[in-house]
Every structure is written in structure tokens, then in C-alpha cells.
């Protein structure tokens, strides 16, 4: 018998001025999700079920950029994407462009388990969700006041903004957006591709 191991993340590229209470909220959520996964592993749940269970928890909490609390498009809407992969047999499922599916990771799991494909996107993915009775909600459900404020900042900075929770006091834009770096990527200034 091997030993179990688990890791979770909530995104990279963190605002250096993130207020302490936000940091504490983030570490509390990560700890809760780790413990959820650990008790599932101790109950001998297979790895593929544990990763889905933990990511559902992270999608439901608005703190990080997924599910409820997702970053917003330039139009102020939410388009979510997710993928899941089982190392045993390298089976996988992925979805993109979701606007109403409450837990995208579970739809990716259904694509892996219940479809002949490994990736469904936009209206095809939404149709597949309805065929399988997956829980759907209005797009508004995913949009938070925090993220409306961040989108406003990103538009003022004319950039794609870091995905971190901007403290309500400071309204400076992210470093990469304000300093034009000479580095190009895909023909665009690197500052356009700010980390999330």
C-alpha cells in the first residue's frame, strides 16, 4: 500500500498589499479544503473523486477565482472553464465557456465519464449539462461586488488585471499594467498578460 498525498491552490500572483484579514480568510479556506480531502482519503475515496470534491468546495466559496467569485470578461460577464484528469489510464475531461453551470469541475468529470469526448465548450457544454441534469444558476450568481470593482480598475488601467483581491482602500493598478515592459509575448506587450 502506498501513502496518500494532497495539495491545493487558490491562484498565483498575489497582491503584496493584501490585507491581513484577506490572507487569513484564504489560509482558512485552504486548510478547510485540505482537511476535506484528507478525510476523504482516509475513507479510501479514489484520487479522482477527492480532487473533484475539493475543487467543488473551492468553486462554491467566492474567495478565489473560480465558480462563484470568478474573474469577469471585458463585458462584465463570467465564462468559466475546468479540467480533470485521472492518472490511471490517463482519462480526462474539460469544459470552457460555461456561464450557468454551478460547479464546472463536475461537468468536466461528466465529459470524462459520460461522453466519447475529452473537451466540450460554450453552448455544446451547456447543452450537455442540461442533458445530464447538472445544477445550473443564473450568471449573476457568479458575479461579486469585489470583482465588479476589479474589472473597473482593469478597464481604467486598460489591462488584464492580476487576479487578486484588491484591498478596498488602495486603488493602484497592478505593477505589470502600469510599467510598460519592453518584453513582448505573442506580439503583445507582456503587461497585457498579467498573471491572474
Amino acid at each position: 500500500m502506498g501513502r496518500w498525498a494532497i495539495a491545493v491552490h487558490g491562484g498565483a500572483g498575489v497582491d503584496p498589499n493584501l490585507p491581513l484579514e484577506r490572507q487569513e480568510a484564504a489560509t482558512a479556506l485552504l486548510t478547510r479544503c485540505l482537511n476535506l480531502g484528507i478525510s476523504a482519503l482516509r475513507s479510501s475515496l479514489p484520487a479522482i473523486d477527492v480532487v473533484e470534491l475539493v475543487v467543488r468546495e473551492l468553486e462554491t466559496d467566492p474567495l478565489f477565482n473560480s465558480g462563484r467569485g470568478s474573474a469577469l470578461t471585458e463585458k462584465g460577464t463570467v465564462e468559466m472553464e475546468a479540467s480533470i484528469m485521472d492518472g490511471r489510464g490517463r482519462r480526462c475531461g474539460a469544459v470552457s465557456g460555461l456561464t450557468t453551470v454551478k460547479n464546472p469541475i463536475s461537468l468536466a468529470r461528466l465529459v470524462m465519464d459520460k461522453s466519447p469526448h475529452s473537451y466540450l465548450a460554450f453552448s455544446g457544454a451547456e447543452d450537455f449539462a442540461r442533458q445530464h441534469g447538472v445544477e445550473t444558476v443564473d450568471n449573476e450568481y457568479f458575479i461579486t461586488e469585489d470583482n465588479k470593482g476589479m474589472l473597473k480598475l482593469a478597464k481604467e488601467a486598460d489591462s488584464i488585471l492580476f487576479d487578486y483581491r484588491i484591498p478596498s482602500t488602495a486603488f493602484e493598478t497592478c505593477g505589470a499594467a502600469s510599467t510598460e515592459s519592453p518584453i513582448q509575448m505573442n506580439g503583445m506587450p507582456i503587461s497585457v498578460y498579467a498573471p491572474e
Partner: protein
């Protein structure tokens, strides 16, 4: 972006990643998270989930590369993570978490912080944000 990677007591690895993408992104933009081999990968030796600058992660096929350098260069998990973060991102900023089928955990990032937590059966547990 959020992610979870797990190795269970049968030595099976799995990975899952979910995201809203980048703030102010164009409608229809696809990032790294749903792309198997870029933002998410799980095979016989490890499971990986990435986050950060999607376009850089895609170009570097970051998640698959961790498994590839383990398989072909014989690197251990943390060595593989460090190699990929250091060599595969060009100027891109990103982070990743990984587990091995032997029950190890590892993570790496080249930006100013990553929300992460990890635990192993022998009692190790760590939750962090900064370096």
C-alpha cells in the same frame, strides 16, 4: 484559478483545475486550465495543476513537462517542479502544485505569491501564501 492534486493509497494520481480566467479577458478566451497537458495533467507518476499567466503555461505545456522530466530525465518530483518553473516559462509568471504516486507533494512559483496548501500521510501539513 483553483486546483487540487491527489495521490491515493493505491498509488493513483489525479488532478483538477477550475477558473474564471483573467479579469477583463476577451469573451471566448480559453486559458490553460482546461487544456490537458498545459494547466492540468495526471499520469502514472504524478498529478499537476497550474495557475498564473495562461498564455505562458500553454506555450510551455507546463503540467505535462513535470511528468515528462520525471519519466525521461529521472528527476524526483520537487526537482521536476523546480526545473519546469525555471526553464519552461520564458518571462511568464506562474505557479503549480504536484503530487507523485509515491506520496510526495511539491509546489513551485516564480511570482510574488501563491495560495497553496499541502499534506502527506506521515503528518506533514503546510498552508501558505508567500515565499
Amino acid at each position: 484559478t483553483v486546483g487540487c492534486v491527489v495521490a491515493d493509497t493505491e498509488g493513483r494520481c489525479a488532478a483538477a483545475t477550475s477558473t474564471g480566467g483573467l479579469m477583463n479577458k476577451k469573451v471566448g478566451r480559453i486559458g490553460d486550465s482546461p487544456l490537458i497537458g498545459a494547466g492540468t495533467y495526471a499520469g502514472e507518476v504524478c498529478g499537476v495543476s497550474c495557475t498564473g499567466e495562461g498564455e505562458a503555461i500553454i506555450r510551455g505545456t507546463l503540467a505535462r513537462d513535470v511528468a515528462a522530466v520525471m519519466e525521461y530525465k529521472g528527476l524526483k518530483l520537487q526537482e521536476a517542479v523546480d526545473f519546469v518553473i525555471k526553464e519552461r516559462l520564458d518571462e511568464g509568471k506562474a505557479g503549480l502544485i504536484a503530487v507523485s504516486s509515491e506520496g510526495e507533494v511539491a509546489y513551485g512559483f516564480n511570482c510574488n505569491g501563491m495560495f497553496r496548501g499541502c499534506a502527506t500521510e506521515d503528518g506533514f501539513m503546510e498552508v501558505g501564501i508567500w515565499e
